[in-house]
Amino acid sequence: MIRAIAERVRQGKRTISFPKGTPVVPDRLRGLPVIDQARCTPGCSRCVDVCPTGAIGLVGQKVSVDIGKCLFCLDCVAACPGGAIGFSQDFRLASGSREALVYSGGEFRPACALEERTRRILGRSLKLREISAGGCNACEADVNVLGTTVFDLGRFGIQFVASPRHADGILVTGPVTANMRFAVMDTYHAAPPPRIVIAVGACAISGGPYIDHKEVSNGVDALLPVDLYIPGCPPHPLTILDGLLRLLGRL
């Protein structure tokens, strides 16, 4: 017992100060893309050619990155001769609208809060049922990590629950495989309305690397209306937390 208490003291306090303080992120973190349209070489489309998921759009000489498809893999950065594309360390990527994820530089419109009526029903808590539907266990792991002492999701009144009956909504990871389609729909309908749908990761938003496979549905919005998109492959835990807090109007 004394040993356990001593160990408790030695392990120390781990909870980060986010959202009050600014969190420390790895210097090589790939967050919101940086697009310098002026550096784009006319007639060049190498970024479009190398992108594994077709995330890059090129209309005339205007480059856009669909961060709902982007794997943040650097293939485009390596291919671009003019250095028009890069990544910042800005982890705030979540959005309530699919269109807003198509980013071509400038200010990014992050997610906004749910409508007042829904927020009033939820009160100060949000209970979510997580469904992995073809997720590779990376998104799942970084959703799970929010429950650790580092992020301490409970302090925001957010909790992942075992039953959809106890949930205010579902959080889906993975491209929604054909073999999980029924289970996703059943779980969704088992949650009482108004129910929220959150798509976490490139797969759940667009199919990710599995776009257009006949075995998947190209993401959850092919089946259900989505309230919050959290991009990344996988999203950094701070990206997910930031998105959830914005949805609740806490940021």
């Binding site: 160990e7 893999c73 799942e140 792991a141 990590v145 002492t149 073999n179 690397p209 496979h213």
Partner: protein, 517 residues
């Protein structure tokens, strides 16, 4: 047909010209595989492809070529043999339980029936890749629903069945579990998977292309570095590339960080499953520290973007190595304290010991790999038996435990964290100088075969590539360690309390998507 009935022999990540791949008749093939396994070999892969062998391989509509890769750990040699089958052949599983899932996969993918297979059920629940065929004679126009199949049933007074999944209580991947119970006692557990099937192997055929590496990095997200390394070794072998030593060091560091992260997370999860919250909460945070060390190297907590054919994308520049070692030492002290609490707490040990026991003999018969096998006293580790990359120069010692229970699987995890910790520190201190990426061209050689083995944190990862005359993948086979080990978990649960299932499950912590592909 060639008269030589000896299987071809190759090294890990070595190249074999397809003309040297011995084609046996089905009888010789069965004898050869049986003989190799009884001589101490292990089935690393067994798969089919719709091609016929020759000087150049030719697509074939009615013949499926079966290829077996058998690892001989003591000699560090991989034997490969091939045979041709049509609609049916005598199942190897009748004598060799290791072949169970492989033969069901062959049946599901190519519509070839392994006659006499004792556990003949679909594996992933998808349509056959050869149109118009179905090994189970299901209607060809109907939909294939996941886990609609026969389940093993125990009958009798007071026997009851418990069905769980695909959606589980926690944040985990989907699978369907059926328990045949007598009161609290489990007579048998059957696990049916396939919910995560994304069609990876089908999509990788005709590659490599711009998506291939990203499939590899997401095959099993918690094993990103392991699978990406296995794939890079395939491409490098096929292209005859020499990978810079510094890149191999960085890959090995990332692979060991992946091992530490997952083992630490599992120690915490095991603690949580017996209600011991201190270790559970410490390990949750400490696991993240390991992931952040990987992010220090490459910006991504799971190592995405790091390994690329020809080397790695990120160098350990400036003080990055010192920073990493400092963090590693601090985190290691934390894990040591958290793990020691487990062994010192009688209520934890009472639940760990003698729960979910898997015998050494059973491990060998089923072909269980990696940490789970080592916890049953099987001394096997790709890093020592088939050394690759930086492990050719130095490697962590193989850690085993004798008891095969949940305690053994926890204990081996901790011993492996210790070993990896020492290894990472050594590797970073002695980090080779030079570039981290070769500029040799990426040109996979035609009509060739490569078997690439990597010791991922769960165990042996096996990738096999066979190229056509244009150097494209005629077949790319992925075997995640989970593919071997799911049967081990089912056997470990026999005669256990049903309430011990979460604990047993976590002690294996297998990948669903790695199995379902």
């Amino acid at each position: 047909m060639m008269s030589d009935t000896k299987p071809a022999r190759m090294k890990n990540a070595g190249v074999l010209a397809l003309k040297d791949l011995t084609l046996l008749n089905i009888r010789e093939f069965e004898d050869s595989v049986t003989g190799s396994l009884s001589a101490g070999g292990r089935l690393c892969a067994l798969f089919g492809m719709p091609y016929r062998l020759g000087n150049s391989i030719m697509p074939s509509a009615d013949v499926i070529t079966l290829v077996a890769a058998i690892g001989h750990g003591r000699e560090g040699v991989i034997e490969v043999a091939a045979t041709e089958v049509k609609d049916s052949y005598p199942a190897l599983t009748r004598h060799l339980p290791q072949a169970n899932c492989f033969e069901r996969e062959i049946a599901e993918q190519w519509g070839v029936r392994p006659a006499g297979h004792p556990w003949f059920k679909p594996l992933r629940f998808h349509r056959c890749y050869r149109p118009g065929r179905d090994a189970w004679t299901r209607p060809l126009d109907g939909e294939i629903l996941p886990c609609v199949t026969d389940f093993f049933r125990v009958e009798g007074d007071e026997i009851h069945e418990v069905a769980v999944g695909p959606v589980h209580a926690g944040i985990i991947e989907p699978g369907h579990f059926r328990f045949q119970c007598h009161g609290e006692r489990v007579f048998h557990l059957e696990i049916a998977l396939g919910y995560q099937h994304r069609g990876v192997e089908r999509a990788v055929t005709k590659g490599p292309d711009k998506r291939t590496l990203h499939y590899m990095e997401t095959l099993a997200g918690d094993t990103t570095v392991g699978h990406a390394t296995a794939y890079c070794q395939v491409i490098e072998a096929l292209s005859g590339m020499d990978v810079p030593a510094r890149a191999e060091d960085i890959r090995a560091v990332a692979l060991e960080l992946e091992r530490c992260a997952n083992h630490t997370g599992d120690l915490g999860a095991l603690a949580a499953d017996v209600g011991f919250l201190p270790t559970s909460s410490y390990c949750g945070a400490l696991r993240g520290d390991f992931l952040n060390m990987t992010a220090l190297i490459c910006g991504n907590r799971f190592g995405r973007g790091l390994a690329r054919p020809g080397g790695v994308s990120f160098d350990m520049d400036g003080s990055r190595g010192d920073d990493l070692v400092e963090r590693l030492e601090r985190t290691f002290r934390g894990v040591k304290g958290a793990a020691e609490l487990l062994w010192e707490t009688p209520s934890v040990m009472a639940r760990f010991e003698d729960t979910g026991r898997l015998s050494k003999r059973m491990c060998r018969e089923l072909g269980v790999v990696g940490m789970a096998a080592r916890a049953s006293g099987v001394e096997m580790d790709v890093r020592s038996e088939f050394p690759f990359g930086a492990y050719r120069i130095s490697r962590p010692p193989v850690r085993t435990w004798f008891s095969g229970d949940v305690y053994a699987r926890a204990r081996v995890r901790w011993m492996e964290i210790e070993a990896s910790y020492e290894f990472i520190r050594q590797r970073i201190r002695g980090l080779s100088k030079g570039p981290v990426m070769t500029d040799a061209p990426l040109e996979p050689s035609p009509d060739s075969m490569v078997v690439s083995l990597v010791e991922g944190w769960r165990g042996e990862i096996c990738h096999v590539a066979i190229t056509d005359q244009d150097g494209r993948f005629a077949r790319y086979k992925v075997v995640d360690p989970s593919f071997h080990n799911w049967m081990g978990l089912q056997m470990a649960l026999r005669d256990q309390q049903i309430s011990d299932f979460p604990l047993c499950n976590k002690s294996f912590n297998l990948s669903y998507c790695g199995h379902d592909l």
